[in-house]
């Protein structure tokens, strides 16, 4: 097993573990947010392994940096007690969780095995110079995908206006 592979599995384990922790067994909502951060960061690690360095950086900046902080702000703002998770999960939930998780997983597996989901093209071994780095991706973004960038701008504008109008304390 190469070092790369080892890193991948380590990150993968971390990501899955903390994801399960987030939805499963943390006691406090801040802990849930922290688990999410761990997942995000692990994914960033995997991105690096996939030659997507810029994405990895942005993943950490935006997700771990901005989004989770936003969650934390709201949590603080609400001043939640009892860990903020409300009443402990009832047995019913467990049944549901097992049922849903099982169904979906089995469904996915069945689909995968029956149809050979994973039969995609082999990986390209020799990547061009500087693949996935900020320069190459930046050029792509502002040439081929310029329109998409503009659109993302509009999406962000819309979300800001929407969030403000909904969350502002007093609007009259």
């Amino acid at each position: 097993m190469s070092f790369e592979m080892f890193l991948f599995y380590a990150f993968a384990f971390l990501a899955v573990f903390s994801a399960v922790a987030m939805i499963g067994f943390v006691r406090h909502i801040v802990a849930a947010a922290m688990s999410l951060v761990v997942t995000m960061v692990s994914l960033a690690g995997i991105y690096v392994l996939m030659h997507a360095e810029l994405i990895a950086a942005i993943q950490i900046l935006v997700y771990a940096g901005a989004i989770v902080v936003l969650f934390l702000f709201v949590i603080m703002l609400l001043d939640l007690r009892d860990g903020g998770l409300g009443p402990a999960a009832r047995g019913q939930n467990l049944v549901k969780a097992v049922g849903v998780g099982g169904t979906v997983t089995i469904g996915t597996l069945v689909v995968a095995s029956v149809s050979g989901v994973f039969s995609v093209n082999p990986l390209v071994e020799s990547l061009p110079e500087g693949f996935g780095e900020h320069r190459a991706l930046g050029i792509a973004l502002f040439t081929d995908y310029a329109l998409a960038v503009e659109l993302v701008g509009l999406v962000l504008l819309a979300s800001i206006v929407g969030a403000v109008i909904l969350a502002k304390r007093k609007i009259d």
């Binding site: 996939m50 994405i55 969650f71 709201v74 996915t108 990986l123 993302v152 962000l156 969350a167």
Partner: protein
């Protein structure tokens, strides 16, 4: 040697399913939001992973469809969280509960 794409996609599928289960079972709205974020992340992982497969054109030039898509998704995810938390705050002002089951005035 590099990581087999099958493993990446499996990881992504697993994370997606965990996100789904979270969104379906947790009662706390903030955790549900986080689960949705997890689902988006899983999709991003798949996009970036698949970009590894489709990384060059026939002429050998680099292709970034998946990575650019992933970038866009990250931005959109931020926007979505902002709106989601806004809705959550306006809900909390009227009724002091973060439990999703309490939002069942509208039914039948």
């Amino acid at each position: 040697m590099s990581i087999p794409i099958e493993h990446v996609i499996s990881l992504s599928a697993l994370l997606f399913v965990i996100g789904v289960v979270g969104a379906l079972t947790r009662r706390n709205l903030i955790v549900i939001l986080m689960s949705i974020e997890l689902m988006l992340n899983a999709a991003n992982l798949a996009l970036v992973g698949f970009n590894r497969v489709w990384s060059v054109t026939a002429e050998g030039a680099a292709r970034y469809d998946g990575q650019v898509f992933a970038l866009m998704v990250i931005a959109v995810a931020a926007a979505e969280v902002a709106v989601g938390l806004g809705i959550l705050l306006s809900l909390i002002r009227n009724r002091d509960s973060l439990n999703v089951d309490d939002a069942s005035l509208l039914r039948w």
